[in-house]
């Protein structure tokens, strides 16, 4: 088996723009799935609406392409009815934190065993590049011509309101680190959230001064640093994993070992 078997390569090219960061996430996810033995009998994907949400259509799993913002209630119900399954949610930052924000708050609180990969391109990509709750203050977008007004939502703080939850920060440039974060997230016995900074070159990057995706990736390389080992909180632009207290494994996931918890970055 190869990670390529996890992807419907016959549907390529994807609808994503050349240089988009979403494909980099899909590749790493496919590799982790291959490593962990995730297949169409033990794993379900749940995606939201947005460019990111298309990922489910490209992968070799049963996949629920939910309404905008509604991945989490669907995913949590699947995990409740079928605790043996790996439930992998892939969704955009707008989907997850804006329209789906209330579900995020409560999924964190209830701590179901689901893995969330949030493609955080700091923009509403699909609808043309409007500002959202993850857009940095001052960013000029098609709906914030004078620059975004409000501070972005504190995702780490939100996830860590549950002492048992798992939060990882990574970028699509840091492929090795992203892969490790995704792997540990899938193995985590409760709610695991991977916050992946990535580029929407077409509807954001170019408008804020990056000539191409390459410059954006280089920017991530320069700006983001690994957090010191043992960090229990990540500073802005720090990469790492903050695991909550070890929750009791709710069920042994098929094909994936249950995670052990420790404050580790």
């Amino acid at each position: 088996m190869s990670y390529k078997d996890k992807v419907k390569t016959d549907l390529f090219p994807t609808i994503w723009c050349p240089g988009c960061g979403i494909g980099l996430i899909m590749t790493q996810l496919a590799m982790v799935m291959d490593d962990l033995g995730l297949d169409r009998t033990n794993t379900v994907m749940v995606t939201g609406i947005g460019c990111t949400g298309r990922m489910g259509a490209y992968m070799q799993f049963d996949s629920v392409y939910t309404l905008h913002g509604r991945t989490l209630p669907v995913a949590e119900a699947i995990a409740t009815v079928r605790p043996e399954l790996n439930v992998i949610v892939v969704s955009g930052d707008g989907d997850m934190t804006s329209i789906g924000g209330n579900h995020l708050l409560h999924a964190i609180r209830r701590n179901p065993r689901i893995t969330v990969l949030c493609n955080n391109n700091e923009i509403y990509g699909l609808t043309g590049g409007q500002t959202g709750p993850t857009t940095p203050v001052g960013t000029k977008t098609v709906s914030s011509p004078a620059g975004a007004t409000f501070s972005p939502v504190n995702l780490q703080g939100l996830v860590n309101t549950n002492g048992n939850a798992f939060y990882a920060k990574t970028t699509v440039y840091h492929q090795g680190q992203m892969r490790r974060a995704i792997k540990e997230a899938i193995e985590w016995p409760g709610f695991a959230f991977v916050d992946i900074t990535s580029q929407c070159i077409e509807n954001n990057g170019r408008r804020i001064g990056f000539p191409s995706a390459n410059e954006m990736l280089n920017y991530y390389r320069k700006e983001y640093r690994q957090a010191p080992p043992g960090s229990t909180q990540l500073a802005n632009h720090q990469l790492g994993i903050v695991k909550g207290r070890a929750a009791e494994p709710k069920a042994e996931p098929a094909g994936a070992g249950a995670g052990k918890g420790s404050g580790e970055a």
């Binding site: 419907k8 794993t43 392409y65 509604r70 119900a77 009815v81 399954l85």
Partner: protein, 356 residues
């Protein structure tokens, strides 16, 4: 055999359990909360029923869709503004073809309205509440025993039609206590029709228009129409087997009363003077039955807890005007029925005298 006193909302829960439901999600709201509470109590001693008190009705509605896809017969119960919040998810369930059951215990709206007062103002919302075209199947019982029976049928019909089915109730019926013998109600249960997630396929359950292989079909009218017609045909065909209604009272009278849900019970004293047509399947509208029965009557009066929602449907189906007796603001009483009939000059003398 065992007779017992049972409330309409509790009968819904027992019907769901009988039908094989193993997942409930809901959010408290009068007058439907007893379904949620009864589900939580039942789940506490029957772990096969998974129970979620969700953060809101949007989550509840989407959760029962996820649960159904995962393999559980699932349902929720709500009222008024909660049902409005569920409309997007109901459209999604229609698009996916997911069997699940939405129970709507109607109160007086719009908005928060009159939370504990009975209404029937969701008739059109159950048909047109979500965006776009879809084929709704909706049942509306009139007694506590029927709450049980039609909950089972709603689950069955959801499976057969592969669509979300709405069971309507109202504050009056939901809170009504009646002596029932559930053992005497025998409805065969239809087994699951949808192969659960992770059975080895790579299906895409998509709210977005897509081709069977998962590629976007968002600009292909032919494909859209093909999928739409297929879903519609299936729902219409299945609902033919669920064409439940009641035709009775004084069939020789010259006026036909149409009433459903609790209103049919309230109107019972009209029995000697009018014929009665009671649709139990509210949607698809019982067009053939109405067209067969209506010509026998000089006048038709629709008595309902809304300002003519069902009356407008009857007019459209029959191409003729009907009289309306709207019972508004929760005034769903015989007194209000009498007043309404009097206003349109159709109150029988005996009933007018009885009123004094």
């Amino acid at each position: 055999m065992a007779k017992r006193l049972l409330q309409g909302n509790e009968a819904v829960l027992l019907g769901a359990v009988k039908a094989g439901a193993t997942y409930f999600a809901g959010y408290p709201i009068s007058p439907s909360s007893e379904v949620l509470m009864a589900a939580s109590v039942y789940a506490a001693s029957h772990p096969e029923l998974r129970f979620l008190q969700a953060e809101d009705e949007i989550a509840s509605a989407n959760a029962i869709i996820g649960a159904s896809l995962a393999g559980a017969k699932s349902f929720t119960a709500t009222s008024g503004p909660g049902f409005s919040l569920m409309q997007e998810a109901i459209g999604y369930a229609h698009k996916l073809g997911v069997p699940t059951v939405f129970v709507d215990v109607q109160r007086v709206g719009p908005a928060t309205g009159m939370p504990t007062m009975p209404g029937q103002g969701d008739i059109l919302q159950t048909r047109y509440g979500s965006s776009g075209d879809y084929t709704s199947i909706v049942f509306y019982p009139s007694t506590v025993a029927e709450c049980y029976e039609y909950t089972i049928r709603a689950f069955n019909c959801a499976e057969e039609s592969r669509s979300p089915v709405v069971l309507l109730s109202d504050a009056f019926l939901g809170h009504l206590n009646e002596v029932v013998d559930l053992d005497a109600i025998r409805v065969p249960v239809v087994e699951r029709t949808l192969e659960p997630l992770a059975s080895g396929h790579t299906r895409l359950f998509s709210g977005v228009a897509t081709y069977p292989d998962g590629e976007p079909a968002t600009a292909d009218a032919d494909e859209f129409i093909r999928q739409y017609e297929e879903a519609k045909a299936r729902r219409l065909e299945v609902s033919e087997r669920y064409a439940f209604h009641e035709y009775g009272w004084n069939k020789d009278a010259d006026t036909l009363v149409i009433a459903f849900g609790i209103t049919r019970r309230i109107a019972q004293p009209l029995a000697p003077h009018f014929a009665l047509f009671r649709p139990i399947r509210i949607w698809p509208v019982l067009q053939d039955e109405l067209r067969e029965i209506a010509p026998r009557y000089r006048r038709i009066v629709v008595i309902e807890g809304s300002d003519g929602q069902y009356a407008s449907v009857v007019e459209r189906v029959l191409y003729r005007d009907v009289y309306r007796v709207p019972l508004l603001g929760g005034r769903m009483s015989l007194e209000a029925v009498r007043e309404g009939l009097d206003r349109i000059g159709l109150l029988p003398a005996e009933l007018a005298e009885a009123a004094v």
